[in-house]
């Protein structure tokens, strides 16, 4: 699936990733899907992982419930989850794959020395592996 990200939504994710550094950030994004996915809004949520947040993120069930309700209230689709990889590449880890759910786009932002350097998006395919999605106009892939 091809993604188009509104500049404001992208900047929200970048700012969250840089502010959270050296911890991982996380959040949801919303928009519409037709022939491609248009991400209109990104909303940061708390990384509720107990322990080392520099290598893990977790979103609480309560925040997930709020995200579904937000989508409903704003007539948007909940399209996926973003998170950061501090000082690591913007590629999904084994842990990302193990926890992935169908349908969602997973945007990963690589933050190098506190600055968002690259971002990519991935979706869980039928065969159980991640497939990379094309982000329109993304020159910061790797």
């Amino acid at each position: 699936m091809k993604l188009e990200i509104a500049e404001e939504a992208l900047q929200t994710m970048i700012k969250d990733a840089e502010n959270a550094y050296p911890d991982e950030c996380c959040g949801f994004f919303y928009g519409k899907e037709k022939d491609h996915r248009f991400i209109a809004v990104a909303v940061p949520v708390l990384n509720s992982k107990e322990g080392d947040k520099r290598r893990r993120f977790e979103i609480s069930p309560e925040d997930y419930l709020k995200a579904e309700r937000y989508a409903l209230a704003h007539d948007l689709q909940l399209l996926g989850v973003y998170h950061s990889h501090p000082d690591h590449p913007a590629r999904p880890s084994e842990h990302d794959l193990k926890q992935a759910v169908p349908y969602f786009s997973y945007i990963i932002l690589s933050v190098q020395q506190g600055k968002a350097a690259h971002w990519t998006s991935w979706q869980l395919a039928e065969h159980g592996a991640f497939e990379e999605e094309t982000i329109q106009g993304n020159n910061n892939k790797y």
């Binding site: 993120f57 069930p61 998170h83 990889h85 501090p86 169908p102 349908y103």
Partner: protein, 95 residues
Amino acid sequence: MAKLIIPTPLRKFTNNQSSVETRGETVLDSVRELTEKYPELRQHVFDQQGKIRSFVRIYVGDNDIKSLDNEKTQVQQDSVISIIPAIAGGVCSKR
């Protein structure tokens, strides 16, 4: 009859239905009824032993069934049951 909310990632298995009315008296009955109606959902909700998967949380209203009576939690006609997928990940490799 309770209302069972399907999370967005699993709606592809319910013909894009976002919610389903169920007649079960407990959470387990209700979720089973859902997976009988939409069999492709089963592997995403139940493990091989027929228990609700560890990656899935179930809420009745705003309450985790773990704080209630787990899968045996009774549901009322106006109950809203939500299936919530665990959302987690991260770099995870050792530094």
